[in-house]
Symmetry: C2
Amino acid sequence: MEIASLGKVGLTDRLTEQLIVRNASTFRGAGNDAAVLHYADKEALFASQLLLEGIHFDLTYFALKLVGYKAANACFSKIYAMNGQARQLSLNLGISKRFSVENIDELFLGIEYACERHGVDIVAVDTSASLTGLTIALSCVGEAERQQIVYRNGAQINDLLCVSGDLGAAYMGLQLLEREKAVHTGDSDFTPDFSGKEYLLERQLRPEARKDIIEILAKNQILPTAMIAVCDGLTSDLLHLCRASKVGCVVYEEHLPIDYQTAMMAERFNMNLTAVALNGGDDYELLFTVPLTMHEKIQAIDGVKLIGHIVSADNGANLIARDGSQIPLTAQAWTQVSDNE
Amino acid sequence: MEIASLGKVGLTDRLTEQLIVRNASTFRGAGNDAAVLHYADKEALFASQLLLEGIHFDLTYFALKLVGYKAANACFSKIYAMNGQARQLSLNLGISKRFSVENIDELFLGIEYACERHGVDIVAVDTSASLTGLTIALSCVGEAERQQIVYRNGAQINDLLCVSGDLGAAYMGLQLLEREKAVHTGDSDFTPDFSGKEYLLERQLRPEARKDIIEILAKNQILPTAMIAVCDGLTSDLLHLCRASKVGCVVYEEHLPIDYQTAMMAERFNMNLTAVALNGGDDYELLFTVPLTMHEKIQAIDGVKLIGHIVSADNGANLIARDGSQIPLTAQAWTQVSDNE
């Protein structure tokens, strides 16, 4: 069905009609110029995310449902990085003539599925024509107790540096998809064999914001001193955290969490595995610091790895390589390897 | 200066360094994954807006500072339409290679100027590359006492239908600019003579969200029963309000507020003036209903016009023409005249 046959109002109505309210803080959801949110007892967290076709996703290998799912998770990850819970999402779409009503339904389904899994209400939907491609603008409101909010600027000297999950897999998934795309250019049917590389693809195509880590930390009564979402690559985001906290850091190459599929693909593509782990984007993991006294507690948590510690700012930010040599972690190295500029 | 020379981090830092906090509800502004907002006593309003180059603005005749100013005002108008005050704004930009750092500074200046005038804090700035053109995604959080919030669905039978300002001028301004652009195609220097048409251009290029109307209504202790921002043209937004309130309406052609410049240009372009007033977009005025008992109070307010009244849903939504004939107001007529799809 052509979008023109429904019109902007019809399309927006079609999407908003199915909305469900899951949270008490959603006092009034979609249907007015603004949603009304009730945050009397807690602080409201406010984050946003813009995803552009051709920059943040390529529809050659990205199903629209997955684009929606990833977009929502990318936005939620910012709320989790504050140690909060995501609650409300607003959605603005710019849609070119290439897309049908069914396409937008599929995209919306992916967003709504992410919202269902994360307990989030979609409280505003707006659509607009676009000259080229698909534009997805999301904003998320979340909640946290003031005392529980974690900022980027709280890291202290001697704090332990921790990261959830593993690094570089989403970036290797992207490399894999890009290379297959280059090989298959001109094929109308893009269905390469990805067996044995499923994890890399899943990390690129279906990332999951780490709500679970926030919950595990709370359960173990661990309040990080500083935290940031790893979106642009570990180095870039780590340097953000260090700069905000006015500290330096030491990261041990041997402690970087890397999945074996990531390692195998780096080997096959003749890429430097450590550079992939440090600079590959789209991980959507959480990087955080905890006091040294939390050492045992953190080590007991599955899915969180100690990768180094905080030092004074004048020591800079450095990687200790496997051979013991010290390599400065440099800003924006990620722009060389990540497509997610 | 090329944006590539600063990089994403450098550009974002450049923009966020200058941010000022104006509101107590901005507990923590830019610099973390999410801003922290404190809305303990009031409800938080949440609205967003997406503006795409070539769809919502044309840089042939739009200075970037004005684009920024208009974008912010468009977003604020949604908060005012809930009878709230705009407080925080988040900003995501998609920027193609065509734009320089100075261009983005100019755009940001326009947004910040609008924020200054409306008492709003910019609490998040993020930038991304874009394949084509400029993408501006804004989200706004505002505040209101729960009892003061006005929705679209509160209009009652016999309520008076009121609109602020005048209608169709922004649309005529757009027509003027588009026609001049067509005439001047190929000219490197686009400086036509617009004397005597300044108001139309100002309404298109530099709209002002009606914070003043919200304040005047409060001062006069008038609480509308329903309200909506007039963005897509009076008819489209009036039908939204009627549908939400499950009512019909009568609008009198002779009471439509129209500036004399709008009328003169419609005459000159041989366009139907009433159609322009009813369907032209980009007015950013407020359309609202008040109880019949407010008749005298409303009439005493400068800049607000009574244009009709609410009837039962089975009477439909109709225009009473100057000759007394009744014409149904039809949905989406705006798509025929407005470029702001």
